[in-house]
Structure formats: C-alpha cells, structure tokens
Assembly symmetry: C2
Homo-oligomer: 320 residues x 2
C-alpha cells in the first residue's frame, strides 16, 4: 500500500471519528459502518459516482464544490423518496500526485454540507487511481414504513409541481463549456446545489405527494421517468416553468431550453392529487404548479398558444 493512500485512509478515519461523537446511534469504520435504525422505519440507500472528466473538471470546479456536489447528489436521492438522511460512506480513488490540500478541501465541502443535515461520514474505501479522481458516495437514510414517495404513484388529474427554479446549473455548465471563467459564488446553483431535504420532509409529513423524483437529468427526462413508472402522461405549461437566474446578483435569467432539459438542479418534481392544497412556499422554497398528469401516455407541452406533443422514450432527447 503506497504511502499517500494510507495517509488518506487515516485522514478520512480521523475526520469520521471526530464526527461520530455527535451521533451516538452510529458506529465508525471497522470492517463496516454500523447504523441503528429507529423502530418502524425502513432503510433508504443510494450510491452516486462523481468522476473527474465526467461529472466535474478540476480546472472548472473548486475542490469544496466537488465535495459538496458529490454528497448533494446522494442527499437529493434521499429527499426524492421523502426520507431523512442518516449517514454517508465515501469511496475515494486519487491519483498518486494529487495534493493533500485538494483532498482536504474536497472533504471540507462534503462535510460542511453533511453537518447542515446531520449526516456524518462513517467511512468508506480509498484507492489509488491511475486516471483522475474517482468518488462514489453512498447515502443511507430512513423513512417511516410504507411512507416512501415513489416514482410510480402519479395518477391522471394529479397536479405537477417543481421546487425552486430550473436551468441555472445547465446554463452555468454551458458557460464553462464555452470557455468562460465563472465564479462559484455567482453560479451557486451549479457549484453548490441545495438538496431539498426539508421540502421533501414536509411533503411526506403532510402526505401531499403522490409521486416524486429529484431533477438530476432535467425536467423533461425526470418527468418522463415519473410518467413511465406511473403509466401516465403529462401536460405542461411552458410559460410557468420557473427559470433560474445566474450571474452576480442573479441578473441573467436562463434560456427556456435549460429550464426544460438541463440537469443537475436537484430541485424536486412531484405530483399531488387535485384535492390536496400545496403551499406556494415550503421550508422557504418556492413551489410552482407547472402542469397536470394525463391518462393518455403522451407529453404535451403548451407554448405560445401551440401544443407540442411527444411520445414516451422520445421526449428524453427533446431539444427545444
């Protein structure tokens, strides 16, 4: 075992051990992490890659942003089920020459987000990597038995809602791709996305959502996932889709295409029976009704008085 990896393990262990004192129900490291589950709860588990050159670039993303986004992906999956995140494990592969300071800042970004939601890092695995940095985050959570909000519960007539605003992450990525230097602070939706744990918790407690998913692949794609799993279609009014803003003091509203198709916003997309009253703001986050679930298994998008119709499987590739 080469020295850097041994140091890395002990660094993560030390960090993990320091936190665990705050979480008496959790056990550190050993061969496995140990997690106590309150009675009447089911376990949620999710795993998400963050691979250099695929999910992030070292010349674009500061290390604390990479760490934040790594954990945010997992937390957002837990939110999408209406769950409460309990703990995280991290598999981290690093090139031999990676500076220790990169790892420290990566871990700091990850742990700061974790601390805000009471999610300790319980350990994981480390390895050398011959190519770039490889991270795989595991997040475990709990949800009361039978109360998980699935993708499959949408019914014709249900209203469709999204939290926050959409497209700012994709618009930021587009700027990065075009060679623009942008400051993380001005494009926080991309660099430091906020998993909607508290909104999801409210929706679950009030039994408001019949189906839910987080918008990681884009509104059009993730709505298709809900429709496929629920065996339904959807009609969406494009004018009311809340478009994100980017730049200093957020003065630039993003193009509609980014809001419709852009991924990695980690907002929630959920359906709610017509009879339920959904607040316009939940846990400080704007909630917008954007359409309705239909019996007919098509995606209908109304825009400028016209209706565009797409078939399932097709709309994932829909370019505006």
């Amino acid at each position: 075992v080469p020295l850097p990896e041994r140091l890395l393990i002990s660094r993560i262990r030390r960090v993990a051990a320091k936190q665990s004192g705050k979480y008496p129900a959790l056990g550190i490291g050993d061969d496995c992490a140990l997690l106590r589950v309150p009675p009447g709860q089911e376990i949620l588990a999710t795993t998400d890659f963050s691979i250099e050159g695929i999910h992030f670039r070292r010349d674009w993303h500061p290390p604390d942003s990479v760490g934040h986004r790594c954990l945010a992906r997992g937390l957002s999956d837990i939110a999408a089920m209406g769950g409460k995140p309990s703990a995280a494990l991290l598999s981290l592969g690093v090139p031999a020459k990676l500076p220790q300071s990169w790892v420290d800042r990566f871990l700091r970004g990850l742990l700061q987000l974790g601390n805000r939601f009471g999610v300790p890092l319980l350990g994981g695995d480390t390895s050398q990597s011959k190519a770039g940095i490889l991270a795989d985050i595991v997040v475990l959570g709990t949800v009361p038995k039978g109360k998980a909000i699935l993708r499959s519960g949408a019914r014709p007539g249900d209203r469709i809602y999204v939290t926050g605003e959409l497209g700012a992450s994709a618009a930021s990525l587009n700027l990065l791709l075009s060679g623009r230097k942008i400051r993380a602070a001005d494009y926080s939706a991309h660099f430091f996305p906020e998993p909607r744990i508290h909104v999801a918790r409210f929706l679950r407690d009030k039994v408001l959502a019949s189906a839910m998913i987080d918008i990681s692949d884009g509104l059009s794609t993730d709505l298709e996932h809900i429709c496929q799993e629920s065996g339904v279609g959807a009609q969406v009014w494009s004018e009311v889709i809340p478009k994100g803003s980017v730049g200093k003091s957020r003065q630039e509203e993003v193009d509609f295409g980014f809001a419709l198709n852009g991924g990695e916003d980690y907002e929630l997309l959920f359906c709610s029976p017509r009879s339920r009253r959904v607040p316009r703001r939940i846990a400080g986050v704007k909630v917008t009704e954007i359409g309705v679930i239909t019996r007919e298994r098509l995606f209908r998008l109304q825009r400028n008085g016209k209706t565009f119709t797409l078939k399932p499987q097709g709309w994932e590739h829909f370019k505006w």
Copy 2:
C-alpha cells in the same frame, strides 16, 4: 446521456427487478433502494472499489471473476462483523468501447455469488469512464443489536484463529505478475474467493469471537489492525499458519511469506477467550489456532525456534 450508458442502466434495472420478486422485503430502484429491517437489528454498510489496473486487469481476470471478486469484497466485510448480508448496490463506470458481453459476464459472476447468499442487487449508478472499468460495490447487512463483532474486542490471553488457508491468492497474483498464464479454475482462491458468511454467523450465534476482521490486506497487516483497535499485541507460531495450495489438484503449497503477508484471501481472523471451545471445523471450513493475544503491544513471531519481534506500525511492512 450516450446510448451505451442508458442500455447499461436498463440492463442492470432489468436484472435487479427480476431478482426482487424473490425478496418481498426489498424495493427496487426508484431514486433509492428501499430495505425493510427486522426489529432488533442494526444495519451494516460497506463500500469497496474494484478499479481496473489497480484491483484487476482485463487480460488477467475473466469478467465473471471480476464480478465475483467485486461482491466478495463487500460480503467479506459483512462477515467480518458477524452480519447477515441483505442487499447490494453497484456503481459501475465503463469505457465507451467496452463490449456488452463483458458487462453481462461481469454481472453474471456478481449475481451468481449474490444468489448463493440471498443477496439481491438493488440498483446503483452507472457512468461512462474515460479510463478503465470502475466498480464500487455497496453491501448492506444486518446484525442483532449490540452483537456486531468489532476489531476492538481482543483481550490478553485470547487465542488467535484463522479460517481456511492463507496465501493462495497472493501466490496466484505473483504468478500473474511474473507473466505466467494461469487458469482461473486452478487458482480459485484468487479468482473466486469465498466470503466466510456462514462461519461468521456461527461464531456470532455461539458468541465465540471477541474480535474479528477479514484478511484482505494480509494476516500480518490485519492482525495489526485488531491489535491497534484493541490496544494489545500478539504472539504467533509461524509453523501452524495454514498455507494455501495452488495449481491443478492443488499440489503446490505456497511460500510462508505469502501466507503471512499476502492479501485478498478473504479468510477470517478472529480472537476467542481461552475459556471458549472453538471447533476445528465450522460450516465445512477448517479453523486453526495460530497464536495468542498479549498485553505487551508487540508482534512476536516464533519461527524455527527463534522469536522475531516487531513494533506496531512496523509490522505492516514486514517482509519475510
């Protein structure tokens, strides 16, 4: 999302969905995997990388061996805590040109091992990889509350035991490194290691083990881990360390150095109070007493009438 990755996701989902019918307490996919926990149980969670060029080589390891070894690493961690494995999640990153047949055979190797221990694949994540194949396995398991066997429970006077035989995996790797072509069937300890789930379960049920670890890094290193966590030392009789055999009809016994320092055997190393009677064979697997835990925090190895003494931190690098 490029086509190969979408196919990969649906392939894994299909495989996962097919299994889940057999496991009514488990839910598939969605944003998270959903896992029901029997009352009175704690959750175990472990994550382990299998990275091409680090943990395996495509020209050395057949895909079903890579899949088997990937899951075996996680199952062995669950065994090391005395746990019962419940489910697995897989993050899989593949290069654009990887043949689908490789993935199919990899999954077959992984699922065949999983089926033998009642461990379904509940989903995970997929990604492209710009370098080689990247797999990260997550295994979840359960253990009765407070009954997990930790590394930290070894006490002076406890006897030290190992299951099976040691060094065959490292000896096989050594042949591969030297350029020898070897058949997976003749070197199964390396290509298809057997996680000792049933032995661990017996030890836990009978409360025989005060501390336990799986031998993934080598007997000397993993015994050091137990000693460090328990604040003790160890004395080992080298003559009784059970050496593995390799080759057709297993006619070649491996060198002592492989048995002492070689990793990836995935046998169990455990300690047991002197008063407990440990069977010589558990669940069909040989169990050998190899030494005793000491108060003095040193590693003493007796060999050919001489005693070699090493200090902690040092013996991890001990070369015979």
